[in-house]
């Protein structure tokens, strides 16, 4: 797959992106490219800047300097709304589900479908259509949840994660940004999310995956970027490395041994 994706231009690109929080330099001069159908792993120690980079890519944070490009076109995201308009979806580390709302309502939050006609214009929801659509999205990803009207607060951690991913997949037509989507999951469920990532990528969506699960990163990602204290210290091709190499880069051991 990486063969044909290499020929296409990047769907999302960050150029020389830096970000500071007061005196903390969270990101410094970061470059990143994702091509259609490519899964890029983003790894690093706690506080390395992974979440910060993802938030910048989706517009939840603004870079202190640097430029984002979507399909080669420079863009400025003031909020996630802007990035969503360009087919970029994100699953946050803290999930960002409303636990009092149902699965359907979460999947459609902020993008509710309205009824046809006058009622719709008055703001009435088309609950049936949304439920059908949500069920389809979950089914297409082989996520087993029997009742899409169930409150998210009643779901297990794994199910919530699956819902968050399904929502992102449902709307993310070009790029999917995943911040530790499997952190709280059992082995089986983590594998399932892995399967989802493969499936989505094979449909031509570019994926950026942040994870501390090295075997999974090694298995899923075509390329792996290593962040160390806000800098990208390595851009590794999956075919050329072993899992242990990634860990060495993360800890800085690989740098030190040079």
């Amino acid at each position: 797959m990486s063969g044909d994706t290499a020929s296409a231009g990047p769907v999302l690109e960050a150029r020389n992106v830096s970000r500071t929080f007061g005196s903390v330099i969270a990101l410094s001069d970061v470059n990143l490219e994702v091509r259609p159908g490519e899964v890029v792993g983003l790894v690093g120690d706690n506080g390395a800047g992974k979440s910060t980079l993802l938030k910048i890519l989706c517009g939840a944070l603004q870079p202190s300097s640097g430029q984002l490009l979507v399909r080669g076109e420079p863009v400025t995201f003031h909020s996630p709304k802007d990035s969503r308009g360009r087919g970029i979806e994100v699953v946050y580390q803290d999930l960002a589900l409303a636990t009092e709302l149902s699965i359907v309502e979460n999947i459609f939050l902020g993008r509710e479908r309205r009824r046809a006609g006058i009622l719709g214009r008055a703001g009435f929801l088309d609950r049936a259509a949304m439920a059908r659509d949500a069920k389809e999205s979950l089914d297409s990803l082989a996520i087993e949840i029997s009742d899409v009207e169930a409150r998210c607060g009643l779901l297990s951690g794994g199910q919530r994660q699956a819902v968050a991913v399904a929502r992102a997949v449902r709307w993310g037509s070009r790029v999917l940004l995943l911040d530790e989507p499997t952190a709280a999951l059992a082995v089986m469920e983590a594998d399932k999310i892995g399967g989802l990532v493969n499936e989505v990528a094979s449909q031509g969506v570019g994926v950026v995956l942040v994870s501390h699960n090295m075997p999974q990163v090694h298995q899923l990602c075509h390329r792996i970027l290593v962040l160390l204290r806000g800098r990208i210290v390595a851009d590794l091709r999956r075919d050329e490395i072993k899992v242990e190499d990634i860990v060495m880069w993360i800890t800085g051991a690989a740098l030190a041994s040079r």
Partner: protein
């Protein structure tokens, strides 16, 4: 930075790598996969148990409230021969409608994660303002419209201060409560101004058939509130905003605008309540709002809305308003001290908050 030597990190289990990041774990702490699986099994068992408990508590909260209503209703019926008469029940409904109108909107405010305790003072200020305008020769309807605009304006002030200056709404509205109540008393010189005006009295003391007009206002506001909450995107956004503000904003919900809107609606509802009471009394008076500081919030919390936001239903508020209406009416019939009514209200408020606490605890 070299927390672990490369040799030690070669662990095929993803969770084990997770252990490394928690900071300086030694090889001995790396969990075996079997151990993880057992933990996961226990975790999902726990989830299921919690889910069952949550549903149970929710049922208790919903049906328990109806039960309370029935008990209170029967108690009053038994205690006073006048209670269960058409006239008395209609009067009770008329009286409680003023509370109900405000409770409906307050429910939305609380679901949205905020609270507005300035309602009684906005009522009073609206009433006094209308009285002043009428005594200086204004048409009473024009004065009413200006009064309502004023009330909405106070709501907007509450909203903007709370939302854009990030002040706790309890504090904001405590401030405006004091400001406008003070103004109401000062401007009226604590005297009552009578307001006649053909037709104006219909708002508070008229009736259609035998049903008092205020009841229609309440039913109207309640239906709008219930439909909005359940069937419109705006309603869902209110829930999402109160439940998980960040999630709502990230999902593209205009959470801040929405919260200001809720405060404006709250101001408007308080103004309407002020107009109705003014019309009913035939006079503008600064003390008309006094009973509502406590009762509106009590009705909302008793109805199951959570002060932490994200939760609440219009049906719950309706039943709670009915309970308070029966109590209020019963206290009058039995000629109990009105001060004791405050004591009962306060007790109910605490009980309601404790119930909410219980529900929340069942979720962890």
């Amino acid at each position: 930075m070299l927390r672990c030597g490369p040799g030690r990190v070669v662990v095929t289990d993803g969770e084990a790598v997770g252990q490394v990041r928690v900071g300086g774990s030694r090889a001995g702490e790396v969990s075996s996969e079997a151990f993880d699986l057992r933990q996961e099994h226990e975790a999902s068992e726990r989830e299921r148990r919690l889910a069952r408990r949550r549903r149970l508590v929710e049922q208790l909260q919903g049906e328990g409230l109806l039960f309370v209503f029935v008990v209170v209703f029967v108690l009053m019926w038994v205690s006073s021969p006048y209670f269960f008469t058409k006239n008395n029940l209609l009067t009770a409904a008329s009286v409680v409608s003023v509370l109900g109108i405000m409770a409906v909107v307050e429910t939305l405010v609380v679901i949205g994660g905020e609270i507005d305790i300035s309602v009684g003072s906005v009522m009073a200020a609206t009433s006094v303002l209308i009285g002043l305008m009428v005594t200086s020769g204004w048409n009473v309807w024009l004065a009413t419209v200006v009064g309502l605009l004023f009330a909405a304006g106070v709501g907007a002030v509450n909203g903007v201060i709370t939302v854009y200056f990030k002040i706790n709404s309890l504090v904001t509205t405590l401030g405006t409560y004091s400001i406008f109540l003070g103004l109401a008393y000062a401007l009226s010189n604590t005297t009552t101004v009578s307001i006649g005006g053909e037709g104006f009295s219909v708002l508070g003391s008229g009736s259609v058939g035998s049903v008092p007009v205020p009841v229609f206002f309440f039913i109207g506001v309640w239906i709008v509130g219930a439909v909005l909450a359940r069937h419109t995107a705006v309603g869902r956004h209110v829930y999402a905003t109160g439940d998980n503000y960040d999630a709502a904003v990230r999902s593209g919900v205009q959470a801040d605008l929405l919260r200001v809107g809720l405060f404006v609606a709250m101001g408007l509802a308080s103004g309407l309540a002020g107009v109705i009471v003014t019309s009913e009394l035939g006079s503008a008076a600064p003390q008309i709002g006094d009973p509502y500081l406590l009762s509106v919030v009590t009705a909302v919390i008793l109805g199951g809305a959570s002060l932490r936001g994200g939760r609440g239903t219009m049906v719950g508020t309706l039943v709670a308003v009915a309970i308070l209406g029966v109590l209020q009416n019963g206290f009058a019939l039995l000629q109990f001290s009105t001060y004791l009514e405050d004591t009962v209200l306060g007790t109910l408020l605490i009980l309601a908050v404790l119930t909410d606490r219980l529900v929340r605890r069942a979720e962890r």
